[in-house]
Amino acid sequence: MATLGFLLTLGPFQFENWDTAASLAEAALDKGHEVRMFLYLDGVYNPVKLQTFPDLDVMPKDRFAALASRGAKIIACGICVNARGLEKGKDYVEGVKVGGLPDFAEIVAESDSLITL
């Protein structure tokens, strides 16, 4: 078993990257690998728990919540979180933590492979 790391710098809805990242992370967990993900810049918008949109069956935040509940370590950049008015992630889905770039440096260290999206 290996560890797969992700750096995600775009938010939900506007760009496809969140969906690709979530799909790859799900596939990695399905295969028994570990997943680490750092949400940077607009990436920190993904786990906001109050998302509601009739056009989508599953909200982005639910995908990230499910990843976290399956053991994926997901950390959002605190500077980015506060810049965007998300107040230390108080409205994040369960399991997503707020941290900083040292956490990303640790993810780089721990990951066998790293994907930027």
Partner: protein, 87 residues
């Protein structure tokens, strides 16, 4: 172990130019990277994410040598090789 170039958009074009020169290159087209013209990669292994190709109606436009893969296979490739990110 190959250098596995993950080519999306808009950075994919820059990665493609490197992959062309890199003898150890294999390439995966993802997201809008499936629009890239990969003729310059003749002789190199090229994959594309099946879902990204099919949604865009591009299956018949890609060279037959391009192998369509799912996310599970992409996870395998990503862990077996060194990922060169150009999303």
């Amino acid at each position: 172990m190959a250098n596995l170039y993950l080519l999306g958009a808009p950075a994919g074009r820059n990665g493609l130019a490197l992959a062309e020169r890199d003898e150890a290159a294999a390439v995966v087209l993802i997201q809008d990277g499936v629009y890239l013209d990969v003729k310059c990669l003749a002789g190199k292994k090229v994959y594309a994410v099946r879902k990204d190709v099919e949604k865009r109606g591009l299956a018949s436009r890609l060279p037959g040598s391009v192998e369509l893969i799912d996310y599970g296979k992409l996870v395998d490739l990503v862990l077996e090789n060194k990922v060169i990110n150009f999303a």
